[in-house]
Structure formats: structure tokens, C-alpha cells
Symmetry: C2
Subunit: 572 residues, 2 copies
């Protein structure tokens, strides 16, 4: 739907996501026998209009307590479909109430929705008629008691933390942003391309890479095998050689004696077997424990891919090959950096969104980036408002206002040169930065945040950076000093997006590679895209977890990805 | 939108994908200055209704030829937005025609859409008024000439093969299936969870895994460093020890002489520095080239994650932890097997879709799998018919009929025991299988294909498999002989989906782990899901490339993934 006259966004949002629940019907969770708690408590009337309905509910107890001398129990039940809980009331004759009330208990019940007594917080409650299932919890052993736990503490329990209010809200927001990403690019006619995770190319030669190998496990396997079944000794081989010699002599003898064909044939077969045995022994005698070496270094021809392989740091170069054929494409997948960063902004495994557009220049690229970020913000406002309210309440009062501002305000666009001028002006007026400001520097986080948070108080796109601080593939501008790069800066996180128009001129990119001291050979395939049918093209990368930090107001990147990987930790 | 009363599928399909182009407007490619060729040639009238419009087009020449004594050139231009080309006519005064006609040339032009002379194949053609850009090709060097090339040949040019009709059609079909996947699960209230790629868990202990490490590169770095800056000799250390001793004596002397505080302080500082220097030398003297060892094996405490890490073989176990909190979830990402399979059905890196549903039993699981596969087939019929027609024409006459059949026919559901009976009957009637048929065997591909292609001639779900051939986490049935597993078999590929109800009973799963000789410790976190608030749950995995083989009729899995990885090959 690349037709600009019909914006299907709003319509699509309502057709696919589900914060708007207003019919008098509850929603059955499909491929399951229960009703979604969201379809009750997220209604504008809080579920009151559903009173009188009989239905089945399943979920986990957030808080439970016995009341009225243990005559019944109140359970706050959550099934992950929304931040809200459903209040469930179980009478003592229906179940062992003591087993029901611990936080974390799973229950599945049939019951009747009723209006609660006047003056209570909830708009509707479920009177249980039948308890179908209880998955109990021993509170003495459960690692996540009811008390408020720090996000840092929860990182030791990545398998249980989705049961907490914060991590489940983040999971729903993350899901919404992922689907919004696909929806945005599909809507604009982009094709999703799965770029490889295991790669033998190195994007920029910038980040430290993880190596992917089977050499170590193969060496360990061989070592075990050689202990169980030791290689032949020299005398074993000598003996086998002797056998070959003897059998050969027998053949010669039979031949010179003009023995029968049958006799000669049989002896030739015996000789053949002896030779095979010798060959096998000689082969085994060459086996050496340890990682295979050749000329003093590791012999990667024996690794799985017959060469050194790594985890990708970016899908950009590969996705460019699809853009130079299919025009508008994007990739959205995991990327990796083996850097020993222990900061709250770095992960060893993180997700990136990388669109690439043929027949597009830097201006088109900025238009796409701005439209995409706005779309994401509006999507959260349209589809995740309950979760965003939770984040505003618990983590960052301004997070909803920030989404509104970004989705509705045109981004400021300034050149790098202008940005440096503005920073220098600020310094003159007394602003203190830790890092020196002068033309040629890479803007640091404090500079970026000053521009977007203080100077403009809205997203800022800085473009045309000095070539010395940017990658070889960015298009050289006519001034020969800057390249057609751009960064999108947003309040709270600074750089959210980095992109550029790519250098499409064969001669220019080749000399840029040489100028930057990079080897040409690994990029020959990339140069082919310029050698054959080259096209003006542009793209960018958005760090998906950065977008989550921006949206949620969470401080540490380890809390916005389901299974964080960083130096020393890769749980599960 | 888990409300079953409003099926938003069709509506969504049209709101988001774009084979239906019928307005009198052409679609501008957004974030670019050209019009999509699809918006012209994929119209029901082939673009005739647009004659008279002036517009900008960009794309790559499929075939070009000069005509009328080189007075003009005919170019078949494709921009990847659809399988069809636009005929473009350039007169000799507009450009160097010789440079335009080679296959693979990129051109961007302004022109006027005109009705072609009667009797020609195309419904509209573009008369060029201005040539904006030419990205030339030297036909003598271009690896993909116009002649028909085999898919095997194209594998040596993964960076250029998206320009071919087949690989671009596959890319569009793959994109459509990916977005259909997200749309299906979002529509049914599932949350997309990014399970980790780097893992320290092993799902099933089944597949061979790739190791992820920085030990080798760190060892190489250290080796270089030690050559540049050799470790201290023993005499260096002895000398440093002597300095420490001397400086210590000076301190003692000053103290016993009751020297001034200043004097003593200065000498203590000198001593401190001497000690630091000694410590540094001792540390460096311990550095050994090579991969760090401890007690005769590799010391993984020094690896990036402080333990051995691998590439995931499945996200299932991890996504279960989210299902046991958020109810309905799915993961869709790359998975890895380090197996030396050189077949047309195996890759070292491939994509899997894995939903997981709480409060769902095997029957719910089968319902979900059937609905999902039907949805994918219908989506291709609704959104990719042009590409499917290309595949039917070039690769598999029956591929469109197959999609129609699968999307509209209820799947047959039979127990494993019944399946074995049917196979035994077939054998009695003279059917010859390479693999023996008897209760307890793992069905092989020939058995699966017999059931789906010959016996039922439609998709078949086989369920309740012998426990001995299935994984420990599958729920033990009351017969204690079978587990609640299911496989979806489809014509042409056999097994497309494998799934199960998971064992939610703590005692049972623990004894199953022991029974199968697996170590319990690595699964403690997984057992926690049963220890605390356990819930009935089910899920399955669909091999995404298998779905592509099924849909397209392509024979080799290496041709349905953008960058295939297999033993000996990982290009780019």
C-alpha cells in the first residue's frame, strides 16, 4: 500500500491490536479454553457491563488473601494479556484456600461475573463456581515474593521475571514496537529480508566479533576418541607394511607361476585389503589432539564453514545487495558485539532494524527515519496506552508526553557543522561539557542530549558528518570533507538512529576503502554492487532496545530484552 | 483482536499488502522519487488506463535491444516490486543506447506512458523523455548474463542473484509469509518474544551446536602482544624483588631513625611503586600464549560469558518461560545446527516459528497449527498470486492448487498407532518402503509422504507418538507408552510442523529427564516453571524454509533463504 492517498495506519492498528474492547462480548483466548482478562478489565467500563456472564479464566495470582475468618479468598489474577488484574473470589468449599493465595500460584476457574459491593476499586469481580486447576507455589521457596523487587535482583531470574508487572509491560511494549516496525515497512512496500547471523564479512571492521566454530568441540571429540581407541604405534604400521609386502610377493609368485585366474584374483583381493588396512592406520597415525594447525596458525579450512566465521555486527552490507535488486528492503534481527562494556547502554546481543532504499538520497533517508519513529510513537499511544500509563506511573512521568511530542513535532534538521557551532555557542555561554567541542570530533552522548533535550527540546537529525569519523561506505559530499551521514537524536537516549546515503560510485568507494587502510579483497562482492548496475541508495539502523529505553523510561538496557547477554552473563 | 466474531484477515490483507492496484493513480515509492512498476503493470488493465501520465521510473534492465537501425532501444525494466517488467523505449538522442541495453544495467528515467501499437504483448509502455541515471554493466564481466542460469550456479553469486526472476519471486513470497506469520499471531493475541541466539542451555541435547567464543581471538591477540612486548624473564623479576627489598629496608631504617613524617611518607611511596612494579611483572610472567587451560581442559571462566556458550537450536524452552507468565507467545528467529548434512533439506542456519500457549492442550495445539498453515496459504493466494503464478509456470505446476487445497480442506488427524496400521496395510498391499514399518519406529520421510500424498491426499496431523522417540518435555499420556506430540505432514515436504503438549507435572518431567539419561542441573530453571505456578501448555515449531519449499515448489532449501549456510559455505 504505497499509495500516499490512503493512510491505512489507524484502521490497521485497530484491526490488529487490541486495547479497544467495547462489545458486550468477552474475547475467548483462541486455541485455549479461557477468556482473556484484558477483554474484561480493559473495557472502558472496567467490565461492569459484563456482569451476569459465566466464563472461564486462567492466570497467575498477583496477590491473594483469605478473608472473613477464612470463609473465602480474594485473588488478584493476571494472565499477561494486559497490566490489569481481575479480582476473583473463591469460597472455602471450592478449594484449599491456603494453596490458592500465595503469589505466583496458577489457577484456572469457572465463575460468574458480578458487580462488586459499592465503593470498591474494581468494576467487576468473578465469583468462582468451580476450580479446574491449581499450580501451587511454596512461598518459602518462590524467588519472587510479593514485595517490590529491584530490576537488578530480577536479572538473576530471567525465567520468572516475565511474571512481574514491569517485565510483562515491557514485553507487551516490545511486542507492539516489533509489529509496528513490520507494519510500517510493509505498508510502504518494503520487503523483509533475513540477512545472515553467521557471517564471513565484517561490516566496517568496527566492532569486536564473536567467533562461531566447531573446531573446539571437534578437537574434544577427537581427544576422547583417541583415548578410547589410541592411534597405531610405528611398529603397528611397520607390521602392516610387512603384511602388504608379503601379500604382494604372493601375488607376484602366483602370477609368475601362471596360477589360475581364481587363485590370482583371490590373492589380489587379500593384497587390496592389506593395503587398505595400512592406509587406514597411516591416516589414524596422523590424527593429533588439539585444534588443527597449519603453518603455525589455526587451520580454518577444517572448521565447519571451511573458513573463519563470526556473528554479524550488522545486516546492512548484505541487505544492500537486496536493495540493489528489489529497491526497498529491510532487515530486523539480532546483531552482536563482543565488547567488554559493562554499561547500562550496551548488550552483547541486541536487535536492529535496518531499512535500505534504492533510488533514495540522504533526504529521502531522513524522511523515512522520521516517519518511522513517529509511527512507532503513535502506535504505542494507539495500542499500548495502559502499559505506557504503568511506565509513566512507575518509571518516567514524562514518557507518554514524550511519545506525543515526538509523534506530532517535525524533527529539527541541522548539519554537523551547525551542530558544532551551537555547541560552541553553549560553551561560550557557560555550558560545561566533559568532552571538548570542535569541528571534527565525534559528538558524544552529552553533546547529543544537549542538542535534543536543551537546545531544541525535540528530535534532531544531524547530517553531513566529517568523513574521518564515519564508515567507508558513506557517500562523499562535494566538499570532499563530509559524508552524507545522518543521526537521529532523541531526548533521553541521544542517538536512536544512524544512517547514510551509500557511496554508489565505484572509483570513490574503492579509494575510500584504501584511504581508510581496509583490505579490498573482503569487499569485492560489495564493490560488485557498484561495478554492475550501480544505483543511488540510502539506509539506516535503529537500535531496537534503544527505542525501548526511549519509550519506557527504563534505565538499563538489560531490562528491555527478554534474555540479556553481556560480559560474564548469558543465562539460559 | 482475539474476538472470534470479527475476522479482520481479508481487510488486513488489503490494508497492508499490495497486489490489488486499481485506482487511476500510480503509487509513488515512498522515500524515493520514482513510481513503483508494480503500480503500473500489476493493474488489472496492465497499466493501459494510465496512458498519458508522465512519471519517473527506476529499475534494472532484464533484457534490452536496439532497434530500427539503432534509432531507439527497447528495455524491459524491473524494480523488484513485482515479477512483471515495464517496457521502456529510449531514443538515440536521449542516451548512449549501447550503454543502456546490457542485462543488469540500472536506469532511472522520466517519461510518458503510452499505449503500444496494437498486437504487442504489453498493455502500456514508457516513452523516455529524460534519462536521469545509468549504472552501466560490462556484459563481458557481468556474472549473470541473460541466458537462463541454474539455481546451483546462482549460489556462487548470492549478492547478485536477487536480480533474477526466481530469487526475487522467492524473496517476495518469503517476505509475505513472514508478515503473514506476525499478522496471524498478533491477530490472535500472541506476543512476539525475542528468545536468545547465544545460549547456555541445550534444547533436547539433540542437535550438534556451534560454539560461540572469544577465546581464540583473545589468544591470538595475546600472542601478538607477547611477541611485540615479551614477558619478563626470571632475572627481571629477581631484580624487581631486590628493589622491593632495598626500598623496604630504607623505610625500616627511616622509621627506626625516627625520621620526619615527610621523609618516611616519601620512602613508603617509593616502596609502594616498587611493589606495584613487581606485581605487574609477576602478572605478565604468568601470561601464556594459547587458549587458557585449567586442570587439563579449556578454562571457560575466561570466555566472554564466563562459561561455554552456543548458538541456539530452538527458542522453545526459553519461550515457555514467557508463556508461563503471558499466556500466548511466539518466537520467530534464526536457529542453528552444526550438522554435516549436505542434503537439499538441511541448512546450518534457518528460521523457525515457535508459538507457545498456556492453558492449551494438544487439541488446542493442533487447532492452532492447522489455522496457521491455512492462513499462510490463503495469504499467498490473496497477496502473492503473481509470484505464485511464476512459480507454477517455472517450477511446480501444482503449487497454486496445493495452496488452495490446504487452505480449504480440514486436516486429517490420526494417532501414530493408526498411522503405523495404515502403513502396514499399504505394505501388505505391495507398497515398498526402504524403512521397516512397525510400532515404535520414527516415521521416515517416505512414510510421511505416503500418508499425506497417497493415502489422504491432504495435510495429516499424526499425534500421540511413542515416548521413546520423542523429547523429555512432551507430556506423558495416560497409557504411559505415548506422549502428547503431534506432527503436521503436508504434500511435497512431509513434516512441516512438530509440536506437543508440554509435561507440566513436576514429578513426571523430572523422572523423564532421568529416564532419558539427561543431567538434571542444566534444566533446573526449566523445572522451576513446574515448581512454581505450573500450567498446562502446548506449542509447536514450523521450519520457515520448509514452508517456503512447500509453497514454491523449489527443490533445494539453499535457494529459499537469502544467504544459505551449510558445511563448507557461508558466503558474505
Amino acid at each position: 500500500m504505497a499509495d500516499q492517498n490512503t493512510p491505512p495506519t489507524a484502521q490497521l492498528a485497530h484491526a490488529t491490536l487490541h486495547d479497544q474492547v467495547s462489545s458486550s462480548q468477552v474475547s475467548k483466548a483462541e486455541f485455549s479454553d479461557r477468556v482473556l482478562i484484558r477483554s474484561i478489565v480493559s473495557r472502558p467500563d472496567g467490565g461492569a457491563g459484563l456482569a451476569g456472564q459465566r466464563l472461564r479464566i486462567g492466570g497467575w495470582v498477583k496477590t491473594g488473601r483469605k478473608a472473613d475468618k477464612d470463609a473465602f479468598a480474594f485473588l488478584e489474577l493476571n494472565d499477561g494479556s494486559c497490566p490489569g488484574n481481575l479480582q476473583v473470589i473463591v469460597e472455602a468449599d471450592k478449594a484449599d484456600l491456603g494453596q490458592l493465595v500465595p503469589t505466583g500460584t496458577c489457577v484456572s476457574v469457572d465463575g460468574l461475573l458480578k458487580l462488586p459491593p459499592a465503593g470498591t476499586k474494581q468494576k467487576v469481580e468473578l465469583r468462582v463456581e468451580n476450580v479446574l486447576h491449581v499450580g501451587p507455589v511454596d512461598p518459602a521457596r518462590y524467588p519472587l515474593p510479593k514485595t517490590r523487587l529491584t530490576l537488578e535482583f530480577l536479572r538473576d531470574f530471567v525465567h520468572l521475571r516475565p511474571r512481574t508487572n514491569t517485565i510483562s509491560a515491557v514485553a507487551r511494549i516490545r511486542n507492539a514496537l516489533a509489529f509496528a516496525t513490520h507494519t510500517f515497512f510493509q505498508k510502504h512496500g518494503f520487503l523483509y529480508v533475513h540477512t545472515p547471523i553467521i557471517t564471513t564479512s565484517d561490516c566496517e571492521g568496527a566492532g569486536e566479533m564473536f567467533q562461531v566454530t566447531t573446531l573446539i568441540s571437534e578437537a574434544e571429540k577427537l581427544e576422547k576418541e583417541l583415548i578410547k581407541n589410541p592411534p597405531p604405534s610405528e611398529s603397528d604400521i611397520e607390521a602392516a607394511k610387512l603384511v602388504v609386502k608379503e601379500k604382494g610377493e604372493i601375488v607376484s609368485k602366483l602370477k609368475s607361476d601362471k596360477a589360475s585366474k581364481g587363485e590370482i584374483g583371490a590373492s589380489v583381493n587379500v593384497l587390496k585389503k592389506a593395503k587398505e588396512n595400512l592406509l587406514k592406520l597411516e591416516e589414524r597415525s596422523k590424527l593429533k589432539p588439539g585444534i588443527p594447525q597449519k603453518d603455525g596458525t589455526i587451520d580454518y579450512s577444517q572448521d565447519f564453514f571451511a573458513r573463519q566465521a563470526f556473528l554479524t555486527v550488522s545486516g546492512q552490507l548484505q541487505v544492500e545487495s537486496f536493495a540493489c535488486a528489489l529497491s526497498s528492503v529491510y532487515t530486523f534481527g539480532p546483531t552482536f558485539r563482543a565488547e567488554h562494556s559493562h554499561t547500562s547502554r550496551h548488550l552483547a546481543e541486541f536487535w536492529m532494524v535496518e531499512p535500505e532504499i534504492a533510488f533514495a538520497d540522504l533526504n529521502d533517508d531522513m524522511n523515512c527515519a522520521e516517519a518511522y519513529v513517529k509511527f512507532l510513537c503513535q502506535w504505542l499511544l494507539d495500542n499500548c496506552l495502559e502499559d505506557m500509563k504503568f511506565m509513566a506511573d512507575k518509571f518516567d512521568k514524562s514518557c507518554i508526553d514524550r511519545l506525543r511530542m515526538v509523534s506530532s513535532t517535525p524533527f529539527e534538521r541541522i548539519t554537523y557543522t551547525k551542530a558544532v557551532e551551537l555547541l560552541e555557542e553553549a560553551v561560550k555561554k557557560g555550558k560545561v561539557f566533559d568532552n571538548k567541542v570542535e569541528w571534527g570530533i565525534d559528538l558524544s552522548s552529552e553533546h547529543e542530549r544537549y542538542l535534543t533535550e536543551v537546545k531544541f527540546q525535540k528530535p534532531v537529525i544531524v547530517y553531513n558528518y566529517p568523513k574521518g569519523i564515519k564508515a567507508f561506505y558513506m557517500r562523499l559530499n562535494d566538499d570532499s570533507k563530509t559524508v552524507a551521514a545522518m543521526d537521529v537524536l532523541v531526548p533521553r537516549v541521544g542517538e536512536l538512529i544512524g544512517g547514510s546515503q551509500r557511496e554508489e560510485r565505484y572509483d570513490v568507494i574503492q579509494s575510500r576503502i584504501e584511504e581508510m587502510g581496509l583490505p579490498v579483497e573482503p569487499y569485492e562482492w560489495y564493490l560488485d554492487l557498484r561495478r554492475f548496475g550501480t544505483v543511488k541508495h540510502s539506509g539506516f539502523g535503529l537500535g531496537f532496545e534503544r527505542m525501548l529505553l526511549f519509550a519506557t523510561g527504563i534505565d538499563n538496557i538489560r531490562d528491555v530484552i527478554p534474555f540479556p547477554r553481556y560480559p560474564g552473563r548469558a543465562d539460559l
